[in-house]
């Protein structure tokens, strides 16, 4: 949870992500590996360090898609629910 929240603020190397967290750096690395496998984060080598970032095209992209999807769908629902009683469905 904390790892993802940190990355939401921008790309970071492992050391920065682990700072202040009550887990070891290797635990954080392990966690990042899982996140990477799940398609949630990507990494890039820069200045001899792996920099991690949220993968906008991965599952996070799915979230953005659903954010818009539900916003529109709920408006449609609101209109349907506010129709006069006589126009009730079915």
């Amino acid at each position: 949870m904390a790892i993802f929240e940190r990355l939401e603020r921008g790309p970071l190397p492992v050391g920065e992500i682990a700072r202040g967290l009550p887990v070891t750096r290797s635990a954080v690395s392990q966690h990042l590996k899982v996140l990477k496998h799940a398609g949630l984060v990507t990494s890039q080598r820069a200045a001899n360090r792996q920099i991690y970032r949220i993968d906008a095209n991965g599952v996070a992209g799915l979230r953005d898609y659903f954010d818009r999807f539900w916003q529109e769908s709920l408006q449609s629902f609101k209109q349907a629910a506010e129709k006069p009683f006589t126009e009730k469905y079915r």
């Binding site: 496998h37 799940a38 398609g39 991965g58 599952v59 709920l74 609101k78 629910a81 469905y89």
Partner: protein, 158 residues
């Protein structure tokens, strides 16, 4: 992998000028009246969207020739206050019946006045679709590997 970091939920709150009984009814039994027609995954054109009005009920689409395609299940059925539905469609736009790989949405209907209902919506646990996202990537990579192999063969032959 429940230890995996969560992706933030999608949350929306809207006000509906109707009683919460009616709002709940339209959201569930009346889902077909407001669902966007182009949002479906079946191969047949969409005829209707159905939410079976009970705990464990199916949520599915029916095509114009009758083919049914599941979307999820009703996990919590508490009319007119609360509804939780699993969402088994991940990044590959296919239904996966395994609940451990499904996200879910919860809808709360809160009465502000007899004909005014606050609807709080949350779609959560997107990280559970992670595997599906991975599968797409794997397929694309395999596709490219095949293409490159074919290219290599034809380049050799030339």
């Amino acid at each position: 992998m429940n230890a995996v970091a969560a992706i933030p939920s999608v949350r929306h709150t809207i006000i509906v000028k109707a009683s919460r009984e009616h709002a709940f009814d339209v959201f569930t039994r009346g889902i077909d009246t407001w669902w966007f027609r182009d949002h479906h995954i079946g191969t047949e054109p969409l005829k209707e969207v159905v939410m079976e009005p009970r705990q464990g009920g199916r949520v599915f689409e029916r095509g114009i020739r009758g083919a049914e395609c599941d979307w999820g299940r009703v996990l919590v059925w508490e009319p007119p206050a609360r509804l939780v539905v699993s969402w088994g469609i991940g990044g590959d736009w296919r239904f996966d019946p395994d609940l451990s790989r499904a996200s879910e949405y919860e809808v709360r209907f809160i009465e502000e006045a007899p004909t005014r209902t606050r609807v709080e919506f949350e779609h959560r646990h997107f990280e559970r679709h992670g595997e599906a996202g991975q599968n797409i990537r794997d397929r694309i990579e395999k596709g490219w590997a095949k293409l490159l192999a074919a290219y290599r063969e034809s380049a050799k032959a030339a």
